[in-house]
């Protein structure tokens, strides 16, 4: 299967199963399409000659066939998807836990209107903070269940994790104290709304957190509409100076300023510009995921406008990079040469198996988005995973288990999409959230186009 598309003035061909990416001219672009449809070569010659008249010579056409043959021979074009057999072994695999999302605070000091965590209450759970003992047990559970994995990831999440900063510090110290004897390397990360940032917190995070995610929705009016404080005031003026200070002190360590766009700001390229112009160079803006009845939820009819914004954003990324002031957009990053292996691409995020969420009470869920949903509790940090029926279901969650993914060109880049989104829209984890799929496809196209443009100097 090949995916051909035109973007940013480039004719791009993605050979889906091999991951090869080619930039071609109009003639070759058409010929590859016709070859894939098994049109006989003499007929292809007739079609392209009629279409392009004298623009291409017989030699050009012959060279194109020769290139097509060479690429096919080299396994870079029309490559067959032979990974289904890998999945069979895959289901039998023994999984280990390698990442935890620690819900260190089921409470929040903002009242964001799209919050899937219900401002920390997660489907009616009470507001509370995780005690140190629970977090400590969670880290022990992770070490004990991580097999031979060296790198262990722990994200401090909420609610707002800085509402429980003392416990964050204690847990980082505890994790570090166990690294050597357990032969593990903890990668701590923290997601914050910024309200409680100060120099002590910033210095601690810059020393200990391998990545920080700083929540900001872009323009002041957009951010303040969606991310008000609990008493209804805007958060922009409080958090932006703190984020700028944080990032200045962070040096070259990883961070993301992360926003969410909703139906109310479909022109989110303007929010990207705001963030970039504030001096942030690592930016992520995600589509909101809400049930269709929400006034903020994205609708099918919004897709063309969103794709237009992605095009503008991609062109801007190219412009900024060529001007020597590069800005990274999370969803446009694609590692074309050193990306993940097939196993990772088939199994995706690892929710419910390699990646679990821990509530303040120590309960385990498949991921942060499933916390508090009936039937998804997997066990706790003392007993471990006891709901093995549920984890087996997640274990089988892969690209080939999803009907919609089988013929999608993006399947090895999103790995079948988000299980929680599938559950939200279809009531089970083996489907795919259709709007999310279309946006993912568009983002992949933009990401590859950016690679093409930046290699074209």
């Amino acid at each position: 299967m090949v995916h051909r598309y035109r973007s940013g003035g480039y004719d791009i061909v993605l050979d889906v199963a091999s991951g090869a990416v080619h930039v071609v001219d109009d003639l070759m672009y058409d010929m590859i399409g016709l070859e894939e449809e098994h049109v006989p070569r003499d007929e292809i010659i007739r079609i392209v000659k009629e279409k392009y008249k004298d623009s291409y010579s017989d030699e050009d056409i012959a060279d194109s066939f020769s290139d097509i043959d060479e690429l096919t021979e080299a396994g870079q074009l029309f490559t067959e998807d032979v990974y289904k057999d890998v999945v069979v072994d895959f289901k039998k695999r023994k999984t280990v836990v390698k990442a935890l999302c620690l819900h260190i605070a089921h409470d929040c000091n903002l009242a964001c209107k799209y919050c899937f965590a219900d401002e920390g209450e997660y489907h009616g759970q009470k507001r509370e903070l995780m005690p140190f003992e629970v977090g400590k047990q969670a880290l022990d559970f992770l070490i004990e269940n991580s097999g031979s994995r060296t790198n262990l990831e722990v994200d401090f999440f909420g609610g707002e994790p800085l509402m429980n900063f003392e416990v964050v510090k204690q847990l980082v110290a505890y994790g570090r104290s166990r690294e050597k004897e357990a032969n593990k390397n903890f990668r701590f990360t923290l997601t914050t709304n910024g309200m409680l940032l100060n120099d002590e917190v910033i210095d601690f995070c810059n020393a200990e957190m391998s990545n920080v995610v700083l929540s900001l929705d872009g323009r002041k009016e957009v951010n303040d509409r969606m991310r008000p404080t609990r008493n209804g005031k805007g958060s922009y003026d409080i958090i932006v100076p703190k984020f700028k200070h944080f990032v200045e002190k962070r040096g070259d360590k990883s961070y993301y300023v992360r926003g969410t766009f909703t139906r109310k700001n479909l022109d989110f390229y303007e929010d990207f510009k705001e963030m970039a112009d504030l001096g942030f160079t690592e930016i992520s803006i995600e589509p909101v995921v809400l049930p269709p009845e929400s006034e903020y939820a994205l609708r099918e009819e919004d897709i063309p406008k969103i794709c237009e914004e992605y095009d503008k954003l991609a062109a801007d990324i190219v412009r900024r990079a060529k001007a020597g002031k590069p800005v990274n957009f999370f969803h446009f990053k694609v590692d074309l040469t050193g990306g993940p292996c097939v196993y990772k691409r088939l199994s995706g995020c690892g929710s419910g198996t390699e990646y679990l969420a821990v509530t303040p009470q120590g309960k385990l869920f498949p991921c942060h988005q499933f916390v508090g949903i009936d039937g998804f509790e997997l066990g706790d940090v003392w007993q471990g995973v006891t709901n093995t029926e549920m984890t087996n279901e997640f274990k089988c969650c892969n690209v080939y288990a999803k009907e919609k993914c089988r013929d999608c060109f993006s399947r090895f880049y999103c790995s079948g999409g988000c299980a929680a989104n599938s559950y939200l829209f279809h009531g089970h984890i083996l489907d795919a959230y259709d709007i999310g799929c279309k946006l993912q496809q568009k983002r992949l196209e933009c990401a590859i186009m950016i690679n093409a443009a930046l290699s074209d100097n």
């Binding site: 290139d67 870079q76 050193g338």
Partner: protein, 49 residues
């Protein structure tokens, strides 16, 4: 190759033999939390380098 510029020759099938070590980052731990993207991640398997 006269009429093609190949950005990447593709390495997916090569990773079947040596892949699966699991040392790479969990995708939702980065910056998404509401979607699933793996194509932007890097392989951390030293044997594949």
């Amino acid at each position: 190759m006269k009429r093609v510029k190949t950005l990447t020759a593709g390495t997916l099938s090569n990773t079947v033999a040596k892949g699966g070590c699991g040392e790479c980052q969990t995708s939702c731990q980065s910056a998404c939390k509401t979607s699933c993207t793996v194509g932007n991640q890097s392989c951390e398997n030293k044997e594949n380098k």
